[in-house]
Symmetry: C2
Subunit: 164 residues, 2 copies
């Protein structure tokens, strides 16, 4: 495989790992009841629904970071990122979150498909040109990689909703 | 960058992500008390020490899978992989696990340093030649990537030991 094929191959490895995490959340969405999502994953820890909204807001944040466009649900930032679970801010319903989870991931998937392998290795929008010159691993693909491990971190918590 | 440099760059992105997860566990090892490690991460879930041993056994499993050699602690397989936490099998002490965690990760790091970038894209030992020809993403680097997300999954649980 030549250099170009190798970059496509490597980008696909990371995208595939990202999709595996999304699919694990999808499986929870198919199987957990509304009551399970409303439960705390452990005593005095976040509820399932907060973690779901948090993952949704983080995924939505990839839109501007990867240069795809604006966030689809900027209002989720206050509810699920900058404020904690019991902030008193009204949360969307589970049904709304489910639909918007699909919208965000579907939109990201469309844009990712169109991104060339070479573009994956360009800087994401939160890095300055200067920093990127010094730290070229801070590229778009690496950002997706860090979001992949972040998602897996929370999936390890969501799994505690099984049998709740 | 040429193809060779590009492979090194890719391999380092994943190795770096792997090391980030190891370092998060190291930080827990530096800060959690023996009592915290002995606690369940959530009611009726695994104890910290079981999860630590589990991650250690999985990392040790990379030795043969990446072609580096035999496992350093094959006896951990029964205690932390094939049997559950409350199996009744005697577990090593926290101190022993700490030391062996460092040994396994240190040994892996040494071997990883010596692995050429091209070798990272060769098959791991649990895939047949035939399957690898059909699924070339089942290479050594992808295995490390899947172990990275696995580790992050359990770190999301270990964090519940904070304030226990």
């Amino acid at each position: 495989m030549d250099k170009q094929e190798q970059s496509i191959f490597f980008a696909n490895m990371v995208i595939n790992s990202w999709e595996i995490q999304n699919n694990r959340v999808n499986k929870f969405l198919d199987t957990f009841s509304e009551e399970q999502w409303a439960s705390e994953v452990a005593p005095n820890r976040n509820t399932g629904i907060y973690i779901l909204g948090h993952l949704l807001a983080v995924n939505d944040g990839l839109m501007p970071l990867l240069g795809f466009g604006s966030k689809l649900f900027p209002e989720y930032e206050a509810i699920f990122l900058t404020n904690p679970d019991k902030s008193g801010l009204e949360k969307p319903t589970l049904q709304t979150l489910k639909e918007n989870w699909d919208k965000v991931n579907g939109t990201l998937a469309e844009f990712m498909k169109k991104l060339s392998a070479q573009e994956w290795f360009t800087k994401h929008t939160a890095v300055s040109d200067e920093d990127f010159a010094k730290e070229p691993h801070r590229n778009k693909l690496n950002l997706l990689l860090s979001r992949t491990t972040h998602q897996s971190f929370h999936i390890g918590q969501l799994i505690f909703l099984v049998n709740k």
